[in-house]
């Protein structure tokens, strides 16, 4: 496997969403499959690079969305929610598709830690045929996912789905087995050809300020760990969390759910500088958490050996000129907040005690490792995940897990280190403003979080998933970047300018022959439909394949066995709100109904020939069912389609078929209710 990721090869030009994803999920492909009702196919795409799609569907920080080219038009496609929809609607399929490796290879690997990076590496290596055993000090697998992400964000079941799926590959796991205590590191080394340290950052940093060791001060990770294990600490009525990152937000929101009337979050950063995701800070505030920006902890106050408050000092800057963390304070500006508890979320560190008496090098409390070869100072001992990279996201950890597996497999096969090549990723770039300005704005399908007052009552999930109709609607906002029109037969192109004249986005040009720059093409297909040389095709929608399907359906059935009249119904895929009409039809269904459905992502891309061909193949009538009025994503498409239908009608008259046998309809309301009425009318 020389590919950097199963879904990209070096030299590929990626859409910006895939490029931004640390595992380069083929976002565009899974969203397109979803939009066609192929949820199982979408899951296949997800699982190819990400063994934690259920987790990522809940908590991923979705860099794909941050780079979505649709932002130039309105808002990013809600990719995380689409991912969640896919996994929530393919649970049985996910179990059925599980496979175990066919061949066993010599070589055993011990993985220390069962977080996202460790389990990803373990899965990759197991699927390659190696024997892998995962050592987890806790009773539950998942690392920080299991213990440090509050359940209102990541329900236990979502994590369990991913882990069960991963373990089905045949990974062996040892839970409640702390390396260094229950089994020595040296023992692991003698039993395995390779060791992967994926221990994560499971401990909180403390603060060296007066009172930091007092009763009522909690380390953040321990606090989350205890809550996840149903052992919430005794707390007073007022709590202050120190820190401005995502963990701090999780802690503050988790604390709020334990009942205190007041939860503060104090951080050095200004609002703009806070490392926490903006949306999470906003959600925290909705839940009543008060964010105190630009304050650093000065001293924790105690009364009767119990926390009574905290003194804060004004932070004037967090980073120095070299952008290094180097906070500066104005000691003269202070404030006092009366609280009963202080929770510290000021950074995390690794628990590397199990390495202290080994030859694996540690420097200033950090594991010494080479990022390019994922290796430590010891031959055959590798590292991945946050213990190597420092704090990061789950999907980044997963990416390093894949890399570690590559490196370890190479080591097991050759005995050599593998330096991972520096990746240079080429993307198709931003959507040009001129194109974006001509594209139709379509509102992002948002879900409403539970009411804040409800949310803080317990740890129930706060975000509902998409309904099927919502997911399908949102999936169709995807621009399917760079999968648009291509001049497939340049030798046929006469440079006639038809493509230039019909393109609603001003994208098509003639430079010698037709050019539809992938960076701009919006995949409407009008140029392909109108090209007099039949030289343009769409990579996303192949009209020839569609005709083959049609030919096959009619041929297989034999027209005499089908209910008459036999109607070929081209339907705008974008109007469906369920899979009812997206499932492939059975022969019996076609025979009984006499309706052959051909789902088209915008019927505006049907050529005149597409409207005539069904008659040649034995159909009696053709129905073209377009979207509801003004619903079309592509301006100008409706008029061109209507004129094409008029032309087909005239042609049908000339050839003796009769113009009434092709008809253009509009969807009225939802497809599932409207289309059967249209078919009835035709019959």
């Amino acid at each position: 496997m020389d590919k950097e990721s199963p879904q990209i090869s070096s030299g590929d030009v990626l859409s910006t969403c895939s490029a931004a994803c640390p595992v380069h999920t083929d976002t565009r492909e899974y969203v397109q499959r979803l939009s066609r009702g192929d949820y199982e196919g979408a899951l296949d795409v997800l699982l190819e690079v990400n063994p934690f799609p259920s987790v990522c569907g809940r908590i991923c920080h979705h860099p794909c969305e941050s780079e979505c080219r649709r932002r130039a038009i309105d808002e990013a496609v809600s990719l995380r929610m689409l991912k969640r929809f896919v996994v929530e609607n393919t649970k049985e399929y996910r179990i059925a598709r599980r496979k175990k490796p066919a061949d066993r290879k010599a070589g055993t690997v011990a993985v220390i830690g069962s977080g996202p990076s460790g389990l990803t590496a373990a899965l990759d290596l197991t699927l390659r045929g190696y024997r892998v055993r995962v050592y987890e000090k806790d009773s539950k697998l998942g690392g920080m996912l299991a213990h440090a992400i509050p359940r209102y964000r990541l329900p236990v079941e979502a994590l369990a789905e991913d882990i069960e799926d991963i373990l089905a590959s045949g990974i062996e796991v040892k839970t409640n087995c702390r390396v260094g205590t229950d089994i020595s590191f040296d023992e692991l080394r003698s039993e395995n050809e390779a060791i992967l340290i994926a221990a994560g950052l499971s401990e909180s940093h403390s603060l060296s300020i007066p009172g930091a060791e007092s009763n009522g001060v909690f380390p953040g990770i321990t606090f989350l760990w205890d809550i996840a294990n149903a052992m919430p600490p005794e707390m007073g009525d007022r709590v202050l969390v120190v820190g401005g990152g995502n963990v701090a937000i999780d802690i503050a929101r988790a604390a709020k759910r334990l009942g205190p009337s007041k939860v503060y979050l104090a951080c050095l950063e200004t609002r703009e500088e806070m490392p926490a995701w903006k949306w999470e800070t906003e959600e925290a505030e909705q839940e009543g958490i008060e964010v105190l920006n630009s304050w650093g902890p000065k001293a924790i106050l105690t009364e009767n050996n119990k926390v009574s408050g905290i003194d804060l000092k004004r932070c004037t800057s967090v980073f120095d000129d070299q952008h290094r963390f180097n906070p500066r304070y104005d000691e003269s500006v202070t404030t006092r907040v009366e609280v009963d508890n202080v929770i510290l979320a000021v950074g995390q560190k690794a628990d590397l005690e199990f390495l202290t008496k080994t030859s694996v090098a540690i420097e200033r409390g950090r594991l010494l490792c080479d990022r390019a070869s994922m290796s430590t100072s010891e031959r055959g001992v590798f590292a991945c995940g946050e213990v190597m990279t420092g704090p990061g996201s789950a999907i980044q950890a997963i990416a390093t897990g894949h890399e570690a597996a590559r490196v370890i497999a190479h080591f097991l096969e050759t005995g050599e280190k593998l330096k991972l090549p520096q990746r240079t990723i080429t993307t198709i770039g931003e959507l040009p403003a001129a194109t974006a300005a001509r594209a139709k704005r379509v509102d992002r399908v948002e879900v409403s979080l539970a009411d804040p007052a409800e949310r803080i009552r317990d740890f129930s999930p706060i975000e509902p998933g998409y309904s099927e109709a919502e997911a399908l609607a949102e999936s169709r906002r995807c621009l399917a970047c760079a999968s648009g029109a291509q001049l497939k037969f340049p030798e046929h192109c006469a440079g006639c300018l038809t493509c230039v004249r019909v393109c609603p986005f001003g994208v098509a040009q003639v430079r010698g022959t037709a050019v539809m720059p992938a960076q701009q093409c919006q995949t409407c297909g009008l140029c392909a439909a109108e090209c007099p040389a039949a030289a343009i095709e769409l990579s996303r929608f192949d009209t020839n394949r569609m005709k083959d399907t049609l030919r096959d359906i009619v041929k297989r059935q034999g027209t005499s066995r089908i209910a008459r009249p036999l109607v070929v119904s081209y339907c705008c895929l974008n109007e469906t709100t369920s899979r009812k009409f997206l499932w492939e039809q059975t022969d019996e269904e076609i025979r009984q109904s006499g309706i052959v459905r051909v789902m088209v992502p915008c019927v505006g891309r049907l050529s005149a020939l597409d409207l005539i061909t069904p008659f040649e193949l034995g159909a009696d009538k053709v129905a073209v069912i377009a979207c509801a009025e003004k619903d079309c994503f592509y301006s100008g498409s409706e008029e061109l389609l209507s004129r094409r239908v008029t032309r087909a009608k005239k042609f049908l008259d000339q050839i003796g078929v009769g113009q009434d046998n092709v008809q253009l309809f509009r969807t009225d309301g939802n497809a599932e209710e409207c289309w059967p009425l249209i078919w009835e009318e035709l019959k």
Binding site: H492, R501, P532, A533, A608, L609, F615, F651, I655, G656
Partner: protein, 227 residues
């Protein structure tokens, strides 16, 4: 560019009633550009023929082809081979009349039928509209008329000013769609500061270059009869 229009479907179908294996050939040049005879039209016409003959209970074999230009030997050779190899009974071409002739000259016993009516030398005025601009008279006189051709664009081919049917700049033949070319010439020369040119009477045109002496030929000595 040569502009052409599709013949009525029934007329073309009528040519083919007595043939079984029929090849429809498009042209990738002018008739593709004027949306009458390119690859897409070949497919549409072929499909239409299959449907129409099928409804008549005739199962003919309708084959399709499209060449880059039907007016050059190298491009049509593959078509000639196909006709032989695939035992084609008849060919329909949807090139201009040049293509019809060019194929007919080379197809021995296989009949060739036109699928288009060739209409004029014209230009694309706007999407979906072409207009006549040149008559191929063999002696271009537009230097005298501001670059605007009265031979092609005057309904009466008048060479010395408009007739009485010019009204408000329009030609009486079809005032809604045809400009009076002499109005256009007048306006153009005025813009060029050359209105005085209209004082010169244009002598009767020598039409020998247009029609006299039989079929016109052109020779480029530097390439003609190369060994």
């Amino acid at each position: 560019m040569i502009v052409a229009d599709p013949k009525p479907f029934g007329q073309v179908k009528g040519y083919l009633e007595n043939f079984e294996r029929i090849l429809i050939v498009g042209c990738g040049a002018c008739t593709t550009v004027c949306l009458a005879g390119g690859e897409a039209e070949v497919r549409l016409l072929a499909s239409g023929m299959r449907i129409a003959f099928g409804r008549d209970g005739q199962s003919k074999t309708i084959l399709e082809d499209c060449v880059q230009r039907q007016c050059d030997v190298e491009f049509v050779l593959p078509v000639l081979s196909r006709v032989d190899n695939e035992k084609i009974d008849a060919v329909v071409t949807i090139a201009c009349g040049v293509g019809v002739n060019f194929l007919a000259d080379r197809l021995g016993k296989t009949p060739v039928f036109p699928g288009l009516n060739t209409t004029f030398y014209g230009a694309g005025m706007e999407p979906g509209l072409w207009a006549e601009m040149c008559a191929g008279c063999g002696e271009c006189m537009t230097a005298l008329t501001g670059g605007i051709c009265p031979v092609a664009r005057c309904s009466k081919h008048l060479l010395n000013g408009p007739c009485g049917g010019s009204e408000k700049g329009k030609c009486e033949v079809d005032p809604a769609n045809i400009d009076c070319v002499w109005q256009l010439i007048y306006d153009r020369l005025k813009r060029l500061g050359r209105l005085d040119d209209l004082q010169n009477i244009i002598a009767p045109k020598d039409w020998r270059t247009a029609a006299d002496g039989g079929v016109r030929r052109t020779i480029r000595e530097h390439l003609y009869k190369l060994r």
